[in-house]
Amino acid sequence: MAVVQGVLDERLTGYARESRNERLYRRMRFIRRFEETLLSLFDQGELNGTTHACIGQEADAVAVMEHLRDGDHVFSNHRCHGHYLAQSGDAVGLLAEIMGKDAGVCRGLGGSQHICAPGFKSNGVQGGIVPAAAGIALANQLSGSDAISVVFIGDGTLGEGAVYETLNIAALWRLPLLVVCEDNAWAQSTPVSANLAGSMRHRFEAFGIPVREIDSTDVLELDDAAAEEIQELRRTGGPRVLLIHTYRLCHHSKNDDDRPAAEVEARWLVEPLVVHGKRLTDTERQAIDDSVEAAISDVVTTAKGLA
């Protein structure tokens, strides 16, 4: 994990002394509370523009980032906060950025969807980040590095032609590229059933690319899958695909959710914090929740105070 932007808050990124289960829970809780805090800051009129929260998908980001190291690169999309926070821990830089402040990670120029930090970039246009991530993988290959390039896309992104142009090239050239496809069942307001013909898995396999498909919100299962895929990518070259079937619990951006309430409610019962939280005692969970809460509150205060 790359460390950026000054001092990290272990209340958010985890302590060396705590158990793996505690640490993973804390890191997911961090992302969840950051996103929920953003949404309330929007409601309070503190933020402008838009945001795409990843509530419900935190386990994907946390699991993948656990297995990256310095030199690896992550390219993310419009729904990038979780990826960025899991990769960098830089809550203050991100919040300041979304607040449009000079102290933000891109001086307020990029905002929510356009983040750049060591080993991390995001862009809000669907599809076009995939060839860029492949280009970074090609750079790694040319320079003889064993670093990998990871790109996060969603089910909706599978509608973009740039994805398939890139899969073809990445497979032909065996680029060290890991495509993490987070299928959260809905592309903005359109369900996968109205968006996608055939099989997601087959789309990748058509290029001879190995696909690890997992239907889970359990961070431990995802963590194991990510570990194996990333290890295999470093060992044998690429590309590879980690296809995660998950669910977005919040609206696409803000106040734009017309999904069936019952469907969403059912998914709240199996969301990552519930699933993994069961592995902790109530006391352990409460202690982490409290410390994340205090840290997030400090993040907001700090970011508000920045120029």
Binding site: C106, G128, P131, A137, S149
Partner: protein
Amino acid sequence: MIFAKELGATLRACLADDPRVVLLGEDIADPYGGAFKVTRGLSTDFPDRVRTTPISEGAIAGVSAGLALAGYRPIAEIMFGDFLTLTFDQVVNHITKYEAMYAGQAHCPVILRAPSGGHRGYGPTHSQSLEKHFLGVPHLRVVAASLVHDPRRIFAELLQQTSPALYVEHKLLYPENLTLAENGRIGGLLASEHSSPGALPSVFLSAVPRERCTVTVLAYGYQAALAARVVERLALEDEIFAELVVPSQLAPMDWDPVERSVSATGSLVTVEEGTAGWSWGTEAAAVISRRLFQRLRRPVEIVASDSDIVPSSKLKESSMLVGADRIDAAVRVAAA
């Protein structure tokens, strides 16, 4: 040496001198060596860094973007400039955005090369000069090859920059000899160069010193070669004296050399092969009219191709595209 070979030698030198340079493009590898043979021989000598790609212009541009973000210097060939449309998302929403939207924390110095232009009967989708659609894209440098600019200097300069560039190469330049200034002359014309800080050079060409010229002709690429012939012929046959300004960089445009020339001549003709309207010429007219309103004797004359498809029929194509006759007629009118 003909321009195609000069350009190939330039790319070879770029590869040899700078291990960060990577060439991507469709059919660019040997033995084919590219649709216009510019890259012939390069993949044999630099197999890792000269790569033939699938027919995927969007990914060619996008993979180039990633290479550039990672510190490499990709130079991608888009087989026909017409296919630049397929790179537009990468150019507008990715390549030219990164450095600015990331507050200078990343650079994306992709160079796209695009064989462009008509007069070869290739028809509506293989003959266009689409660079006008890229002019004015913030943070994009649009550069045009010509016979009076040494591609070695242009590429050396582009490789010094962190900004991305589109380099358009009119196809009719490939078999022509490069004609660089020697002893202040190119052929029968006086030649001099102007370089503003931070901009690529412009070349001035005229039969007589600027003070005796009554019109400035602003042209680039292959049209500049046509315009040079017109300027020379009008001087010899009709004693109509024009100064031709040939910029290598179209956007952002260095207006200084144009302003200098028009300040003396009082009249301007712009020439481009792209279709008429919303164009380089209309931008030139707007800028020069504003800057030199009192010095202009007459409205700026804009020569561009018809706002239409480029027909396949050789006869119909030559009537639709700008040719020497249209330049000649416009210069005569504007010189008066």
